[in-house]
Amino acid sequence: MGIREDHNRFREIVKGRIKKNFKKYVTQGEMIGRREKEFVKIPIPSIDLPRFKYGPKQSGGVGQGQGQPGDAVDGEQQPGQGQAGDSPGEHVLEADVTIEELADILGEQLELPRIEPRGNKKVDSISNKYTGRAPVGPENLRHFKSSYKEALKRSIASGTYDPLNPMVVPIKRDMRYRTIRKVTKPMANAVVIYMMDVSGSMGEEQKEIVRLESFWINAWLQRNYKGLETRFIIHDAAAKEVDEKTFFSTSESGGTLISSAYKLCQKIIESEYNPNEWNIYPFHFSDGDNWSGEDTKLCIQLLKDYFIPRVNQFSYGQVESKYGSGQFLKDLEKSLPGEESLVISRIENKDKIVDSIKDFLGKGR
């Protein structure tokens, strides 16, 4: 039916528009606010067909009901039950895009490699697919192309094939039928542990950056793993585990002991996520202002001895703020050079979010 074709074309155009303005969408928090369960609503104004028309707000109209001049007209403008074939409605288009589609666009735009799950690949999903071919089977599963190929092969081999009159007559022996083939898929679970510094020096803007980054990181990892779990840890001088909402809304003051968060993260992994079975992704966001050099040493120790051998990738994002010195990043770079599974990214402002996502996810781990 034609409409499917038109509908697919429309979806393609929507995706094309998103791709075109992708950087803008990534750095806009507004869009994530419009997230519903599995959809994100994206306003796409430019997809409308432009026309010569009057501005809607200027023109007003005729209505019906109570009220004195000057009273507000409540209720929404409803076109009523229209008859089809009339002029198309006026609307700003909001396209629903699934998070998976977004993740795909993200992957395509940033050229992210697919993640290779690591560790032992447990076989836990088996699905049946009609990809096999068999010489016997029911007629409705007959595979035309394979059957034709068989017939062609036979006629060439037997010398009856004439290129000038390329007629191929299949016989029963040539027939090929689709058949079930068991496909086993390794299934891997993954957990993302977000840690954020909520000390006084982390302002609203910094948190917004973290929020945006975590949205996209989640979207991408979700695309790559079935059953992604997320955990949230906030810390200043002490760390605690919180839920997502608290994670993004808490504002504390006071000092910063990064090791407190790392220790808590270690505890969570030890008690709940066996590194042999889980793909583990700790992300830590901070402005890089640790309390003392002693503590930083402790952190580096923890990274080296505990995290790096066990997790897929340990990511540290340093959100620049005007108060932070950013020393922690320098320390990490100095003491752990060339560590493959440690990714460090500096995020100066919102515009750098895209680059930093690429830093974090570009390794395909």
């Binding site: 067909l49 432009p50 010569f52 007003g60 109209g61 209720g75 403008q77 009523g80």
Partner: protein, 493 residues
């Protein structure tokens, strides 16, 4: 074709008979039951089973399906103006709904057949649409989907620039243009005395003069178009540098726009008429007692009017009823208009019984503009609590502006004229003597939305090739906005 259940078929025959007895006259009407998804598909295609491929239909389909799936809206009926008429019923609607819809559809079909404004429409449009689809698919195969689709986008953005009244004016073959008429029929001055003839009208001089006039006429620079041309699409087909496939695509878009135009021109009347008849047939003939509550519920749902939404069903049905009542009681003519006593007017009843006849006449000759212009009365506005609303910049809200009758009427007529869209015509195809296109916007107090205007001008420029200009009003100044493919210019006049 028809796949009605036996129960529905029985009802259909009953409704058909009742409709015919009431005097409705329509082409054969074929009902089909379809699933909601099929109905959404057909609706996004404007009622037709086949249209040319375009993403816009897919967009409409997505919106219809979403809003149906979320329970926000539901299409009850869909009928198209063809011969025979095709109407679709949605599978799974309640029995009473289906009956109501059938009665409503017969109203529409009668209107399609008899209203003068539908007169010139192609009743075999279904074939025509399929034909269009084939042609466009062929172009897509030959020139590439994207190329053709981009061009369709451009055409659709200009789709509303047609002359809606053109189909009703039958022009005899273009009169031959002989140039300005001479002073007297044979170019001679009046001669009282015949012997003076060759002195007053020397033949050589006359001949010379005639040649001079002809020469002058030949050399005269006449603009293209000679008169402002409302049918911008036709003008572009004739004069824009288009390849033949582009010309054909443009002609397809134009033909379809003309086909749908009468539906926009008679929205209030058409819906009002159909609603009038479904209500009449259902309550008087078709419905049984147990269905009355559901009917009332459905009927009032359709008639409901949101405070700042204008419901053509409601205004239409009320106006038809109002007209019927007035002509039944003889509330028209000079005597009625000149009567200034309210009590007398209230009790006015000459028992003429002309109402039914009158509404049939109205449905034959009028369109929304003339309908409102002639039959919207002050009493009607008061009774139906009509008002004009406007947008208040300060409070960022719509608010009631006035309940003054002349202003309500003016606003309504304004909204209906040209579908409330700006009136635009081609003024000059050789603007600035550089082959640039100049369009004129007939300014009526409301400015065009600038971003849309600029985007539309880009599309216009793509077709025209040379720079394009629109003479309009922006920020309360008469301005000519120009676009040359790269930059916009703005010149105050």
């Amino acid at each position: 074709m028809a796949n009605l259940t036996p129960e529905l078929e029985k009802e259909r025959v009953k409704i058909l008979k009742a409709a015919q007895e009431a005097g409705l006259d329509f082409y054969e009407t074929i009902f089909e039951i379809v699933t909601y998804d099929q109905l959404n598909q057909i609706a996004s295609y404007g009622g037709f089973p086949v249209r040319y491929p375009h993403w816009r239909f897919g967009m409409d389909y997505e919106q219809l399906s979403k809003s149906y799936e979320y329970g926000l809206s539901k299409i009850y009926e869909l009928v198209i103006n063809t011969d025979p008429c095709y109407a679709y019923l949605m599978e799974g609607n309640e029995f009473i709904d289906q009956k109501l819809v059938m009665a409503h559809v017969y109203g529409h079909c009668d209107f399609f057949k008899n209203n003068a404004w539908f007169g010139p429409t192609n009743r075999k449009m279904m074939d025509q649409m399929a034909n269009h689809a084939t042609r466009i698919r062929r172009y897509m195969d030959r020139y590439g989907v994207e190329t053709v689709e981009d061009f369709i986008d451009v055409c659709l953005s200009l789709e509303n620039l047609i002359d809606r009244h053109a189909p009703y004016v039958t022009k005899s073959n273009e009169p031959k243009d002989h140039g300005p008429a001479p002073v007297s029929p044979d170019g001679k001055l009046k001669v009282h005395k015949s012997y003076m003839e060759k002195y007053i009208n020397p033949p050589e001089f006359l001949k010379e003069q005639e040649e001079r006039r002809a020469e002058e006429f030949r050399n005269q620079v006449r603009g293209i178009p000679e008169n402002p041309e409302r049918d911008v699409l036709k003008f572009l087909m004739e004069y824009a540098p288009l390849s033949s496939w582009q010309q054909d695509v443009l002609s397809i878009i134009r033909a379809e726009a003309y086909y749908f135009a009468p539906q926009g021109m008679t929205k209030i009347m058409n819906e009002g008429w159909a609603s009038y008849w479904h209500s009449k047939l259902m309550t008087e003939k078709i419905m049984n007692d147990s269905e009355i509550i559901d009917f009332a519920d459905r009927h009032s749902g359709t008639m409901a009017m949101a405070p700042n939404g204008f419901n053509p069903y409601k205004i239409g049905i009320e106006l038809f009823r109002n007209i019927e009542q007035r002509w039944n009681k003889g509330q028209f003519g000079r005597e009625w208009t000149e009567c200034s006593r309210l009590d007398e007017k209230k009790a006015w009843d000459k028992k003429l019984g002309l109402g039914r006849e009158k509404i049939f006449e109205v449905r034959k000759h009028y369109n929304d503009v003339t309908f409102i212009d002639e039959f919207l009365t002050e009493e009607f506005c008061i009774e139906n609590k009509l008002f004009v609303y406007k947008f208040n910049q300060r409070t960022n809200e719509y608010e009631v502006d006035t309940r003054d009758f002349p202003l309500i009427k003016k606003k309504l007529l304004f909204q209906l004229t040209n579908f409330g869209q700006p009136i635009i015509s081609v003024l000059d195809a050789n603007h600035n003597n550089r082959g640039e296109l100049l369009l004129g916007h007939l300014f009526e107090g409301i400015e065009m939305q600038p971003d849309y205007m600029r985007a539309t001008m880009q599309n216009l420029q793509k077709i025209w090739g040379r720079p394009v200009h629109v003479a309009t009003v922006q920020d309360k100044e008469r301005t000519i906005i120009g676009f040359d493919g790269k930059e916009y210019t703005s010149v105050a006049i």
